[in-house]
């Protein structure tokens, strides 16, 4: 269980955790959050919009505790409600994501064309074990210990005609097979992450 530190009421005083992860200085971050909140607050779907924007700005594409506390304080939304939302939707990450994201579609068309085999072989290839509690579950987000790759699944990309589909760093690749996927992942591994 990843328990954040308890004293969250004054996030601007906290610097340690996020600076170490290579984030921009907190002041700029909070200015950005303020700006997003000012833009959408009070409108339908505001909280989703805020969380999406803040996560997108994070270089590691995740939401950390101090960001959530800051949003709660600024919007007057209870902390527990924000945490409920963050953990409910598949798009939000609570952990830093890898340099490269490989997203395997688990839609029906992809499933009938072998996407589970792709997922299993990729997991083996990258030496990942099933996370505890995810045994047997298809929905997963796994990051390699070196932070290089994150494997995710998605319910459906809506690219069913190209099944099976894999998204490599936001590039859709259709008609995948194990060999082609291994090649693509190798190629990604060669790339330097800027």
């Amino acid at each position: 269980m990843n328990h954040p530190e308890p004293s969250l009421r004054n996030p601007s005083a906290r610097t340690g955790e996020t600076a170490a992860a290579g984030n921009p200085p907190d002041a700029a971050k909070y200015a950005f959050i303020n700006e997003v909140i000012a833009r959408v607050d009070g409108r339908p779907g505001a909280l989703l919009g805020i969380l999406e924007a803040v996560q997108e700005r994070n270089p590691r594409k995740y939401l950390c505790a101090d960001e959530l506390s800051y949003i709660a304080a600024k919007t007057n939304i209870p902390l527990s409600q924000i945490f409920s939302v963050v953990t409910f939707y598949a798009l939000f990450n609570r952990e830093p994501q890898g340099d490269h994201t490989i997203c395997i579609c688990r839609g029906t068309a992809c499933h009938t064309r072998g996407s589970r085999t792709l997922l299993e072989s990729l997991r083996l290839e990258l030496g990942m074990e099933e996370a505890p509690g995810q045994a047997g579950a298809d929905k997963l987000t796994l990051t390699t210990p070196d932070g290089k790759f994150t494997i995710r699944t998605v319910a459906c990309f809506g690219q069913c005609a190209l099944a099976p589909v894999v998204e490599l760093d936001h590039r859709i690749c259709g008609h995948m097979n194990e060999r082609a996927l291994a090649r693509e992942v190798d190629a990604l591994g060669q790339e330097r992450h800027e």
Binding site: L48, S84, F88, T108, T112, A137, C156, G158, I172, R179
Partner: protein
């Protein structure tokens, strides 16, 4: 750009837009939907853009949406003023120079051209492109588009989605303008009600009535919401609609806002659809700029705005109350209804939610009237629906069809059926809320009511086609896994019930399930359906309940026999090849033993798996080839010919004696039980071998003079030399199997005598009666059934055939007969009513026959046999056939035409299939099927008479050698279990140590095939055609195996 304040500005805008859609210069439009991009459309666009700039060409280049034919992407449409719009398919960047070059000469690149559009009905406008290119088919003449009626997709793939001018050019926003000018919201609601438009999101609630609720609700603020959180796996029409025509959605919503009195619209769209989000955001901006959104829309006193919210990945948010909770900043957990959103929705205000596609129907209904709409579709379900036709069909894509269209139309006419060599088994409709419809029910009309009756739903329109490679238990498990992971967790039935359902289904796929669990699963499914809080839970059991209803036998296979025929459930199979083999040979094992150079061990392992390895190595239909994963690299491992090599190297050499001794040494201690096997064909020989191996006293009764059945008497010498079979039979005899030849059961010995003399009886009498066809002229001299013909050749008496012979049929017996005739110096023609690809015969044999000079006449059905005055055959008259509707085998039915062709010939061989000897079967007193085959328990092979088991063709109808042997092996196991009260077959063929390490490297060589004799040499004699793999070839072939049996 100015705001549209009056009709004058509106019309001017329209003219401007038309100059973009139909410019005074050529226009090239690249389909840049996500599907197109996934296939390289961006590269095509860039190459076009670069070339046009570089050469300063007067060409208008546009990026449009998707035209729906996903399997043909990237699509590019090309228009020359005055000419039809031509659609090019599978265009790559490298084609661009050719396309432009041809275009500069007024030509269309012929190999890329797919179809043309002369005029297009945008519903809101009619566009004429021009006429010409007579060599190209019209789009509507292509099978994929046949019968499609594009209302929702009216603009998709034809206009640029990021340019409001093009939307206005094709009649966009006219319906809105009309509604605002008329100023009668109630009459619009009446129109929508009269149109019988129903919600396209799944539940199918009448849209007009929903609108009326909202219109009547009194509040200072009301909302309308477009549900674009399309999360059904297998459905992507909403993505395409928004990507390709975002203004069509906006127009529907603005009209909806006006007539219901709402001031705010919200589009809740999946964040996983970045392109749709991008186009929609741009469309909203443009609409605001043009005065179509915001205050005083189109210069009228109406204020309305639309916002877009990106959903963050939760399928349950498709549920309207969950979607509202999500918009309010909560996790998307549904709330109980009542209160309904129309009373208390978003922020407690009256709210109406409709699916994307529903909104697209609004403008057409407003402009064309409800009567026009109700004419399309079926009585209760008016209009069209967009379906995503995906999975195991040849043509995939988005298909808009009138409601009520039968499923056959989708799967076969539009989808083109399964890939070659496969058959369609089922269609899954409605995604995780829907169900699987078996192919026997493909006449089903696709509308709300009919699908519901079958336990499925239409849902958002996903249509996933499954073939025999899909396991229905796995499909049920897959959908439960999906809904399980998408369940919000609020109510107990869905949260815990789906978890338990998944647990049970996982057990089935792993072979640990029980029949009691199947009953429990059914009860659990009904409980979840009847008591869950929201639509997700209420419909989640549908995939399980429908598969249990329509594919119960597959559940039984998994639970009782621990088998997955599709080979999907990995725990139930050693490897895909093993699973597909009727004998379940451990193929990776013998390949590895050979690779390790252990030829003797390899032989022993092969023979223990398959006691006729040299024969099957020659004549097996090799289903393993179709399953081999090496196919994803190049071509399947030639497993059949490798085990033939392993077997030949022993059976036909001096290694025979020592290895026969090794196998005989494995024989278990005598049990004191005796078994009679009736029939010495492949099924009988196999059963006899295994029964003897486990220590029973086995006697085989055979009415012919030698053992082998069809192998001996039907399959010609040039395919299977008799000495090879004889050696296999000899090895089986060495195990102590006794043979009584010329001992016809029913004549020489009765069933009652067998019952008295033996502890168990296995009936493997095969199918030795040639089916007769009702054909004028079959009484003539020279008309021969195939089996007696082949049998007489096999026993050394060649019947007189004259100079020319025709063979009727398309199976192996037909091909064997023709090739045998050719070897007798007779000119042979095979007449078959379907096409070559439909022939049941082994493809290699058909090819070999052709090389040897056998002629083929396809699409030809026998009409009558013509004789002369002396009663001799003179000719066969055939009626040409054409292919009609698809039948339940997924093949098109041959339909006889009036065209008669006469084929002169001296003999006609009928090879139209074999059946059981009905006289014997009836006399047996056992329960029979209509065709005369024995009724047996599918899992134990027991007949209706105690201690009598049956297998092979006698229960399945004419099949093939390996299937018959599979039955023989299974019967031996079941008989032994019955006699000994224990499962003694496990480990029977074990005891071999071999590498279980994944191979570091595999051979990079392509598939090795046996060398064959030259056709001229072959027809001169009876020598075996296939000479077999060489030592080196077989060794290398075994190194091609990827070792699927080794798992991480």
């Amino acid at each position: 750009m100015s705001r549209i304040e009056d009709i004058g500005i509106f019309n001017a805008m329209r003219e401007e837009g038309l100059a973009k859609v139909l410019p005074a210069m050529p226009r090239i439009a690249v389909g840049m939907g996500t599907c197109g991009r996934g296939n390289g459309a961006e590269g095509v666009y860039q190459a076009l853009s670069h070339a046009i700039d570089r050469d300063g060409l007067d060409i208008r280049l546009a990026a449009v949406g998707c035209f729906g034919a996903c399997s043909e992407e990237p699509l590019v449409s090309v228009w020359l003023p005055g000419q039809p719009l031509v659609i090019l398919r599978r265009v790559q960047a490298s084609d661009v120079e050719r396309i432009l070059n041809d275009l500069s000469r007024g030509r269309i690149t012929p190999d890329l051209a797919w179809c043309k559009i002369e005029e297009w009905d945008h519903i809101t406008a009619h566009l004429r492109y021009g006429q010409g290119f007579p060599e190209l088919p019209l789009w509507s003449e292509l099978p994929f588009f046949s019968g499609q009626k594009k209302i929702v997709l009216r603009n998709c793939g034809l206009i640029a989605p990021d340019d409001i001018d093009e939307y206005i050019a094709v009649g966009g926003y006219q319906a809105l303008y009309k509604v605002l000018i008329d100023g009668k919201p109630e009459s619009v609601i009446e129109q929508i009600k009269a149109s019988k438009l129903r919600g396209r999101g799944g539940a199918g609630y009448a849209t007009g009535i929903k609108w009326e609720f909202l219109a009547k609700a009194k509040d200072d603020r009301k909302y309308i919401i477009c549900n674009a959180d399309e999360g059904d796996p297998g459905a992507y029409m909403n993505r395409n609609e928004i990507e390709s025509d975002p203004h069509g959605l906006l127009e529907g919503m603005i009209i909806g806002g006006y007539v219901t009195g709402a001031s705010q619209g919200i589009v809740y769209v999946r964040a996983e659809y970045p392109l749709a989000v991008h186009h929609l955001a741009r469309a909203i901006d443009q609409a605001r700029e043009y005065g179509i959104l915001g205050a005083n829309i189109l210069g009228r006193p109406f204020h309305f705005d639309i916002e877009m919210v990106e959903g963050a990945g939760a399928f349950v948010c498709g549920e309207e109350t969950a979607l509202i909770a999500s918009l309010e900043g909560f996790s998307g957990r549904p709330r109980p209804r009542p209160p309904y959103p129309a009373q208390k929705g978003l922020q407690g205000k009256p709210t109406n939610i409709n699916n994307v596609e529903t909104w697209y129907n609004i403008a057409p209904i407003v402009l064309k009237g409800p009567a026009w709409f109700t004419e399309i579709g079926s009585t209760k379900s008016a209009g069209t629906k967009v379906f995503s036709l995906v999975g195991k069909v040849q043509n995939t894509g988005l298909v808009e069809m009138p409601l009520g269209t039968p499923l056959t139309k989708f799967v076969y006419d539009i989808g083109g059926g399964a890939a070659a060599g496969r058959t369609v088994k089922a269609v899954q409709t409605g995604g995780p809320s829907g169900g699987c419809i078996p192919h026997e029910m493909f006449d089903t009309a696709v509308d709300y009511e009919t699908l519901a009756q079958l336990g499925s739903i239409m849902g958002s329109g996903g249509m996933v086609v499954m073939d025999e490679d899909n396991c229905m238990v796995d499909i049920a498990r897959y959908f439960i896994e999906f809904t399980h992971s998408e369940s919000c967790g609020k109510c107990v039935p869905c949260r815990v019930g789906l978890d338990q359902a998944l647990e049970i289904l996982n057990g089935f796929t792993k072979g640990t399930g029980t029949a009691a669990q199947l009953t429990l699963l059914n009860e659990l499914g009904r409980m979840i359906r009847d008591t869950s809080l929201c639509g997700l839970g209420q419909t989640a059991p549908n995939p399980v309940l429908t598969t249990m209803r329509h594919f119960r036998h597959e559940f039984d296979d998994h639970i009782i026999a621990k088998r997955c025929r599709a080979g999907v459930c990995h725990s139930l199979a050693l490897s895909p090849c093993e699973n597909s083999c009727p004998l379940h040979m451990n193929i990776p094992r013998f390949l590895d033993l050979l690779k390790e150079g252990r030829a003797d061990d390899a032989f022993e392992a092969v023979f223990l798996d398959n006691p006729l390895p040299a024969s099957t190595g020659r004549v097996c239909q090799h289903p393993c080839d179709d399953r081999c994963r090496r196919q994803t690299v190049d071509s399947p491992v030639n497993m059949r010919e490798v085990h033939r090599f392993i077997a030949d190297a022993v059976l036909l050499t001096d290694r025979f004696e020592p290895l026969a001794a090794r196998i005989a040494a494995r024989k278990k201690a005598p049990t004191g039980k005796s078994v009679a096997v009736v029939g010495a064909g492949p099924a009988g020989l196999t059963a006899a071998f295994y029964l003897a191996l486990v220590g029973h006293d086995v006697t085989v009764f055979e009415n012919k003079a030698e053992a082998g059945g069809m192998l001996r008497y039907a399959i010609p010498e040039y395919r299977l030399p008799k000495r090879v079979l004889a050696q296999e039979v000899e090895l089986i005899r060495r195990l102590g199997v006794k043979f009584q030849f010329g001992a016809g059961v029913g004549s020489a010995i009765t069933l009652n005598e067998l019952d008295e003399g033996f502890d168990a009886v296995f009936l493997a009498i095969g199918t030795w009666k040639e089916s007769w066809v009702n054909l004028p002229g079959t009484e003539l001299k020279g008309v021969l059934p195939a089996l007696p013909f082949l049998e007489s050749v096999a026993t050394g008496t060649n019947p007189a055939l004259g100079r020319k012979m025709t063979v009727i049929g398309g199976g192996n017996a037909a091909v064997d007969s023709a090739r045998t005739a050719v070897r007798m110096g007779v000119d042979a023609t095979i007449v078959y009513r379907r096409e070559r690809k439909d022939m049941p015969a082994i493809k290699e044999e058909v090819d070999a026959a052709e090389q040897e000079g056998v002629k083929f006449l396809f699409l030809a059905a026998p009409h009558r046999i013509v004789g002369d005055a002396r009663g001799n055959v003179r000719a066969l008259e055939i009626a040409k056939t054409r292919l009609g509707q698809y039948d339940s085998s997924g093949r098109r039915k041959p339909v006889v035409t009036a065209e008669i062709v006469r084929l002169d010939c001296d003999a006609v061989v009928l090879a139209v299939g074999e059946t059981v000897d009905l006289d014997f079967a009836r006399a047996s007193g056992l329960t029979l099927r209509e065709a005369g085959t024995f009724v047996v328990d599918r899992f134990t092979l027991e007949t209706s008479r105690p201690n009598f088991f049956a297998g092979g063709d006698a229960i399945s109808g004419a099949s093939n050698v390996s299937n018959a042997m599979g039955f023989g092996k299974k019967a031996a196991r079941k008989i032994d279990e019955r006699l000994m009260g224990a499962k003694r077959f496990a480990g029977l063929a074990g005891g071999f140590q071999y590498s279980m390490e994944p191979p570091e490297t595999t051979s990079t060589s392509p598939r090795h095939r046996s060398a064959e004799l030259k056709p001229a040499v072959r027809v001169a004699g009876e020598d075996e055609v296939m000479v077999g793999l060489t030592d080196a070839e077989a060794g290398d072939e075994s190194c091609r195996c990827l070792r699927c049996d080794i798992r991480g």
